[in-house]
């Protein structure tokens, strides 16, 4: 199967899952934004998803996206370290045009993964999971209050957002490059679109987290 045993195939898997996760993050940020306007409307969104069959299918697909992306990341990194050889350079310099994020995607990814686990514990474990188990789930506003009434949650979430921002600024254009969609002009355009996309989405998340902390903790 060329998606596992060719280097370009493996990168295609990273690209497609990565773009899917960016798309998910975008919808996630937009759905959260509803709560900035009205918590009642936010409850409606939470209820619409809940543990309905389509939400469960969506969650399963999403989880698969995360798991494949993460497994491939570790697998590719191990292969790449092996290809690099056992001897490291004594002196190495990063050329100006090379982004810092591009050389630290695994480290950024691990930070994002830690943040993800905390975030799942804060919300998924209190909303969808109990509903699947047949217990009474927390309502959207209740779960938000439980998490954001603790002031330490905000800085931790902001660190997670910054890591995701760095991860996407490289991941976005890199995905299109790996899918063969780029050329001399479009590499720059994808970089620009990716920067703005990551900045808008992560800024929206940051605004939401700050608002929740202000609303529930003070």
């Amino acid at each position: 199967m060329w998606l596992t045993n060719s280097s370009i195939g493996r990168k295609v898997v990273m690209s497609v899952t990565g773009l899917f996760l960016i798309l998910f993050l975008t919808f996630h940020a937009l759905m959260n934004a509803v709560s900035l306007i009205s918590f009642d409307a936010y409850e409606a969104v939470c209820e619409f998803l809940g543990a309905n069959w389509y939400a469960l299918v969506g969650t399963a697909v999403l989880a698969a996206g995360f798991v494949i992306h993460i497994i491939y990341a570790f697998w590719l990194t191990l292969q790449n370290r092996k290809a690099r050889g056992t001897d490291r350079y004594e002196v190495s310099a990063r050329p100006k045009t090379v982004e810092w994020a591009s050389q630290n995607m695994l480290v950024l990814g691990i930070i994002v993964l830690c943040f993800l686990l905390l975030h799942l514990f804060h919300f998924w474990a209190k909303m969808q999971l109990p509903e699947i188990m047949g217990e009474a789930p927390l309502r959207g506003k209740e779960a938000l209050e439980l998490a954001f009434s603790q002031v330490w949650v905000l800085p931790v979430y902001l660190i997670g957002f910054v890591a995701i921002w760095f991860h996407i600024t490289h991941g976005f254009w890199s995905a299109f490059q790996s899918l063969g969609a780029a050329n001399e002009k479009w590499i720059e355009r994808f970089k620009c679109i990716g920067w703005w996309w990551a900045t808008c989405v992560m800024a929206l998340f940051a605004i939401e987290a700050c608002y929740f902390t202000w609303f529930f903790a003070f």
Binding site: W2, N5, S6, S7, I8, G9, R10, K11, V12, L76, Q79, N80, K82, A83, R84, G85, T86, D87, R88, Y89, E90, V91, S92, A93, R94, P95, K96, T97, V98, E99, S102, Q103, M105, H170, W173, S174, F176, Q177, S178, L179, G180, A181, A182, N183, E184, I187
Partner: protein, 251 residues
């Protein structure tokens, strides 16, 4: 203005492929700044021979930047601190009096060290042999204008063809990936009608040979293109991906 500089030269010495290597520091004195980097190494080697020591082994051939034989990872850069130039085109005026200059071989599992600074780049030959050519049937030569080719395509193919196969891309890449080399070799034919006939076969054969030889997976850091002495562009890699995906989809 020409002047003389003195510096410390920290060089990787390794007796044989399996031997344990280490850095050896030499004091190098009064080298004119108009000396090329390889001429400086020649001077150091003369002195080593006079002292009865083994000279430093390094690859070199044409010394005019077209053969791709010279290598050397100088102060953290393949082919040294100059951009768009090979090590043989690097001059001592790039360095200052009192500097420590660190010289290492290309480091990649697919380029094992033979001795000192010389590595085995036979893997590139094997990739080329897998498909880096155009088959021509014998017969009378065709009229030059029989196949129209746009100036844009011709220029881009020529730019891709300027790759000298030195391996700086692999040396610069934190993943030890050979994608810039392979993409240049695939692109120079993919862009021209003469190369299209075997395009699908070529890209699959060259890529699977590259993977088989133990080069890493490209993560688009762009270090290869930034360090390439021939300024091969990163867009070649996207073209390689495109060609490969196209070939796979039409299987």
């Amino acid at each position: 203005m020409e002047k003389n500089i003195s510096f410390k030269l920290k060089v990787w010495r390794q007796k044989s492929p399996k031997a344990q290597g280490q850095f050896v520091t030499y004091d190098v004195n009064d080298i004119p700044t108009d000396t090329s980097f390889l001429e400086m190494l020649d001077i150091v080697n003369e002195q080593l021979i006079e002292k009865g020591e083994e000279p430093i082994v390094f690859d070199h051939d044409c010394r005019e930047g077209i053969c791709g034989m010279c290598s050397l990872y100088v102060n953290g850069h393949p082919h040294g601190p100059a951009t768009g130039a090979t090590t043989c085109q690097l001059y001592m005026r790039r360095f200052n009096d009192g500097d420590t200059i660190t010289v290492e071989p290309w480091r990649s599992a697919a380029f094992p060290v033979i001795k000192d600074l010389m590595v085995n780049r036979n893997a590139f030959d094997q990739i080329q042999q897998a498909g880096g050519y155009v088959s021509f049937n014998t017969g009378g030569a065709q009229d030059a204008n029989a196949i129209p080719i746009s100036k844009v395509a011709a220029d881009e193919a020529m730019d891709s063809a300027s790759c000298i196969g030195c391996g700086a891309c692999v040396a610069a890449c934190k993943n030890g990936s050979a994608m810039l080399f392979v993409s240049a070799k695939v692109s120079q034919f993919a862009l021209l009608p003469q190369g299209r006939a075997e395009a699908k076969k070529r890209v699959k054969a060259m890529l699977s040979k590259m993977d088989e030889l133990g080069f890493g997976n490209c993560t688009n850091t762009g270090a290869c293109a930034a360090e390439c002495p021939k300024n091969i562009k990163l867009s070649n890699i996207s073209r390689l991906n495109r060609e490969f995906l196209g070939a796979k989809c039409s299987d």
